[in-house]
Symmetry: C2
Subunit: 292 residues, 2 copies
């Protein structure tokens, strides 16, 4: 039975944030540059408020400027566009994050397209998707970037490894596949229409699960020794009626089979905000013309 | 032994061009719109001259306007940028194609980035790569689009099929993978760093070879019944010193194993220009606000 290593994303993200704080302090001392992240929250969705609070807090802790814009749920699309355009012009703002989901009367795609690509720290703009696709420097979506950093730290050399990404969302699955391809993995993208998902998974040296289905991936779907990155964050209620969070992978079944695995929570989750800070720092450096 | 079907791209492309000509005639009759394709050739590379001549001829035969710009090899980058910008503004021009390769003193990436995305009928602009990546309508590179059209016509339903793309270029491999993913194939991208290429290929219901290596893919790498699309166009010299063109797949070996295969020449090749005309028509319709 394999001794499965836990990939401690929480500790890794904390180290990343410390590095980012040191770099931000250096930018300020040597270049008088204070990276600024503008976070825009429309309405009062409770989950979104928690996310935004965490982002703001971690931005500040990293020694970067956080600029919060809380708008009422009745904000019009035109008003939100105007705000984003003002942030695009604001030289103290290097990154712009519009918290999703937006109220239904606002076209999210239009808002995301309004953000200047060089300030699009979420990496969702079509220009950043294109830059990733053709191999140019851009801003990469935070969650797949976090997964890649964990893989680079915990997996054997990526070049030539067989990677299977389960899920094909624009936010995780598709950019993840691009990143793994850039690292010269042989990449397979599987999804809901895949005929034999267990068999595809069993071929993976590296498995990234990003489908949002509680414990879809079973222990016997894993190749012994595989590195497993579990992006799922699913709320489930157990037999005794207690709520808990599980990933897309049946974690207990994976222990003893996988070579290493990210737990949920405490795996990929904390990496997302750390990568948002990393992207903000990158964006600030590029806008100021300072090499990384 | 399987009776392997030849996928006659030459005949298919001819039918496509006839359809495009009919649609172009209809656009002219009903909307007074004549789709225009500007082709820019810098210098006098013999192969490029032949490509351009073919493109111009087929554009005209399809009843569309062809606008040729031949510039001397000494043309500066600034002059070429100025020409492209003028073509971007020209309302009679719906598609712009800058023939590659450009002379070495010109930065091709800069020139391609100058083309307005809505006129980028080659589909190489980063915005079109991004649109393809995130699932928005854009202009898709001609060769992978041609491969997809052949697959839709000659392959069993694509959804759920296992597709393996060998090659990860920005011009063919990567957009091909995106297109197959959009059709809900389970997609694997293999390449020079792939550990066991024959084994990856043997799993393919649909195999697209786009690596530019003469007859790399052998008959015993194919799953019996697989649909094989051979994008390679390789000049080789045989034992008697005679030059001939072969694909990336050992064609004779594939006969009797593959369910269907594109020959080289006469397979994918003729589809590329047909798709260029299709993209020009699509671009003209969109720019004029006419539904397809």
């Amino acid at each position: 039975m394999m001794d499965t290593r836990w990939i401690d994303g929480k500790a890794f993200a904390a180290r990343m944030r410390a590095e980012i704080a040191a770099e931000a302090a250096d930018l300020r001392a040597r270049h008088g540059l204070e990276p600024g992240l503008a976070v825009v929250l429309v309405g009062d969705d409770p989950a979104s408020r928690i996310y935004v609070r965490n982002k703001v807090q971690q931005t500040t802790e990293a020694g970067m400027r956080s600029l919060e814009h809380r708008l009422p749920a009745e904000t019009t699309e035109a008003e939100l566009v105007a705000l984003v355009e003002a942030l695009n012009r604001d030289r103290a703002v290097h990154g712009i994050l519009v918290q999703l989901p937006l109220p239904r009367h606002i076209d999210s795609a239009r808002i995301l397209a309004t953000i200047a690509p060089e300030k699009d720290v979420d990496g969702f703009h079509v220009v950043n998707a294109g830059r990733l696709a053709v191999g140019l420097d851009g801003l990469v979506p935070c969650t797949p970037l976090g997964c890649l950093l964990l893989l680079k730290a915990f997996a054997p050399p990526l070049a030539g490894a067989r990677a299977v990404v389960v899920g094909r969302s624009n936010i995780v699955g598709k950019p993840m596949a691009q990143l793994l391809l850039r690292e010269s993995c042989t990449v397979t993208i599987a999804h809901s229409r895949t005929r034999d998902l267990p068999e595809e998974c069993r071929r993976a040296d590296i498995l990234v699960a990003a489908v949002g289905q509680p414990e879809l991936v079973r222990g016997d779907w894993l190749k012994p020794g595989a590195i497993v990155i579990d992006v799922g964050i699913n709320r489930v209620t157990d037999a005794e009626g207690k709520a808990r969070i599980v990933g897309d992978v049946a974690f207990k079944e994976a222990l003893g089979v996988a070579g290493a695995i990210t737990p949920v929570p405490g795996g990929v989750g904390p990496m997302t905000i750390a990568c948002l800070l990393r992207n903000t720092l990158t964006a600030a450096r590029r806008q100021a013309g300072i090499a990384g």
